[in-house]
Point group: C3
Chain length 356, copies 3
């Protein structure tokens, strides 16, 4: 936590909002509505949080104009069009920044590597031949950059990350702890009952503003490169196999697996726990809900789903029994047969009536 405090007027200026109330009110921190104290600032992200806001102890509320009208009991406000965005901006004000610069004495850096003067290289970092680390980039403890890896400026590589495969990262890239970038793709030629390893000669290209979580794997390509375009954001424990290409600003939630040579378009949202089979194409602006299983190309924007949600266990067991029978039930014919028999019945009935 940043220890300095801010006045209401200052914060309003930082988020380009208008303040109402005591302009010199001291704000020590951002907080949730539930946990806020008097000198904390909160945001109200829509009417569904009004009840929580009413009982909150916070001193200041970031709201829209219309939400302000509904919070008559409160005194200090900052009015903006998008409170969530203002909150996102403020988190950076109150975030503790890493101020260290220079190279720790225990880091081992190959003489051919080029490290910007204002970068920080933490303890026990190992940096190989011909590596480049750009201005203002932070590399935390125990990171390994293998030969020919390049990291651009304003980057953040957290502890115990391994970057190999001659990966090239552009600017403002963030990689969290224990992630593996550039490992060998899973490529084997089966021959005479054995797997013959295919050495992977491609690399990994990571665009500007890409964010990769902890314990992820982004493999290097077999011949061409694995590519994450600008603005891609990836949660934890995600697998990106060799030769995958992911378009700008696509977001991938935790525990997804994207198999080899998949191409995902721009602005997609891939729900957590989803898997995409190899060599498929997914169009721009596709949303997959959680635990989706993609086995065919998706050529149109839209929302797609798979998987069955939760059942009470005994209901589930009976459902599974029925599912196993389903293959042999001619579903589409059932209704047709019923309609046909209904017609026969009615014809019989009218025949009988005629003969009365």
């Amino acid at each position: 936590m940043n220890r300095r405090s801010y006045r209401l007027e200052e914060i309003a200026h930082l988020v380009k909002g208008e303040y109402f109330g005591e302009k010199d009110f001291q704000i020590f921190n951002l907080a949730s509505l539930e946990k806020a104290h008097n000198h904390h600032i909160c945001f109200v992200n829509g009417e569904k949080y009004l009840a929580q806001a009413e009982v909150s102890q916070a001193g200041v509320y970031i709201v829209t104009e219309s939400l302000k009208q509904l919070l008559g009991s409160k005194k200090n406000f900052i009015v903006v069009n998008n409170p969530y965005l203002a909150f996102a901006t403020l988190t950076h004000i109150f975030d503790k920044k890493i101020s260290q610069r220079g190279i720790e004495s225990t880091a081992k850096i190959h003489p051919s590597a080029i490290i910007a003067d204002d970068a920080y290289i933490g303890h026990h970092v190992v940096i190989g031949e011909n590596c480049v680390v750009g201005n203002n980039t932070i590399i935390q403890a125990n990171v390994f950059l293998d030969d020919n890896v390049e990291v651009g400026k304003d980057g953040f590589i957290d502890a115990n990350v391994s970057i190999t495969g001659e990966a090239k990262l552009k600017d403002r890239v963030r990689i969290h702890t224990n992630t593996s970038i550039g490992s060998e793709g899973f490529g084997f030629a089966p021959y005479q009952g054995k797997w013959h390893r295919i050495a992977q000669l491609g690399s990994v290209l990571i665009g500007n503003d890409v964010r990769i979580g902890s314990n992820c794997c982004i493999d290097r390509g077999a011949l061409d490169d694995t590519i994450l375009e600008d603005g891609v954001i990836i949660d934890n424990l995600v697998q990106i196999a060799h030769n995958v290409q992911i378009g700008q600003n696509t977001a991938i939630a935790a525990n997804c697996a994207i198999a080899g040579s998949v191409r995902i378009g721009k602005n997609c949202i891939i729900g957590g726990g989803s898997a995409v089979a190899g060599h498929l194409n997914i169009a721009d602006n596709v949303t997959l809900t959680g635990m989706s299983m993609v086995t065919k190309n998706i050529s149109e924007a839209g929302t797609y789903s798979s998987g069955i949600g939760l059942f009470e266990n005994s209901h589930w067991k009976r459902t599974v029994v029925r599912l196993r029978q389903l293959a042999d039930v001619p579903l589409t014919q059932l209704t047709k047969r019923l309609d046909h028999m209904q017609a026969q019945l009615e014809s019989l009935e009218s025949t009988l009536k005629l003969r009365k």
Copy 2:
């Protein structure tokens, strides 16, 4: 492996059981029924293991009173109420303990950090500003504790673990290799087609006796903290997103993903490969079977399931065809229509009979 041996009488005492047979019989190790040699001790966990016990070469058997009656051919026993619990206890007797204490010369520890005298800090460990490491805690090689991280007493942090986000761990916490605690949660505000990163200001609170496996991710909270209560146990490759709260003694098996702000109650068991969507509540004493997908709150204790088990591939393909038709089949009406037509038929039949 601990190299000393124990006498039958000693072991019986350690597990609070009664011994039968040769009280000075030497026991060198615990073993499975299948692999045991003469001076090994085994446990018999119910009648279904009797056949295996009969042919086992083990010298001593941990059994219940009734199991003992069924193993007439054996000589040495320890009788207890709960053989599995006795076995759990004995594993600690035969486990090799880490006896090292003190700080290795290559560890880099900030002068403001407080390290207990009888802790062990392995090679190349990096410990930041204001960190605390409690009595008798073992920190293995290449671990990174970022500024303000605290680890209680009797803890075990295995190699290459990264703990950031000012996480606070209580006593007897065990974290296995390559796990990430306190990484930044996956929080972004979408605005004008881009993702605006929300710096995460919350932390991670980990209770007493919590166990976290290898290559897991426990993210720090956005504003409030991510909380694992006392006695929570977590297997490998598990994702716990920001602001999740997990109640006492809940167990989570491998490869699960718990999305942001989920609250899971006490004494739950979450089967492997399950995923829980964001902002949901799960009651106490809920069991989810493997690969469950939770998309709604669970307000009652019980066992829940989802996912379909395995089909032979061609059966599965035909089933999937039917499933895709299912949305347009009015299942609940089918039976009603059949019943209705049956009634019509019977009415026609009786009409015909009357007119004979």
Copy 3:
């Protein structure tokens, strides 16, 4: 990348193929059909790549005899029976090899450990008591080998890997970055509402030519060992629980979870994102398609599947409604009832005709 170039004749000799065209044609690198330049060599893996080959700029094509006939516009070829295998072979020619040998000054190696003279031990590696590292094995930066771990010859252990639990690795084993081998299995005895930890006394045995990807977990056994037989290949983010046994040459794709005590046979292929419940047996030569969920033994070779592929979201929602009704629909009786009623109808019809 290896910087030297090869002549067409040389390459043909290396892959045991026959060359056609200019025998001294210089080849600088392997490439994909799409990205190849004039002095690159490509492979054509079947007729479906002919159109791409036609427009490729590559100087040389590895093809079968019949594919060569179909590429009349090209000049230089290498003809082999299996172009994919020839490609696999060539990747090793163009791969950059690690040439370093010896022990870096910052590595910390217990005096009782035995390290082969021509092994390479990278910076900040920590190697415990009684460890063994065989001839020509490469251990990259920041790796931790706990006491009694053994690695055979010609191995490759990439950065930030942790090997504990007295694991024994045979020859030519490759382990990629941030993987955990030998961590404690997830074993707890429940008693009086708490989980009592079972210290894990077994180990991990890894056969010759095994390949394990990045951020995987292979836990040590409880009493007996976890065993990966010769030639097993494993992708990234895979969980192998305690006491699992995996037969020769079985391949496991990314994000799979194999629960405790499972036995998988030889030559199996486990699709990505699959999970196998504990204590099950899977026969030899079983293929599971992606995201399979195995809850019963598989005793016969074959291909098995589970999970439902993707639906457009509104179609999916309607399908899920039907699925929840399915348990109460007597599917197998529906057709029988329809047949029965059809017979009744026809009987009525003929009765009516007779009475005309």
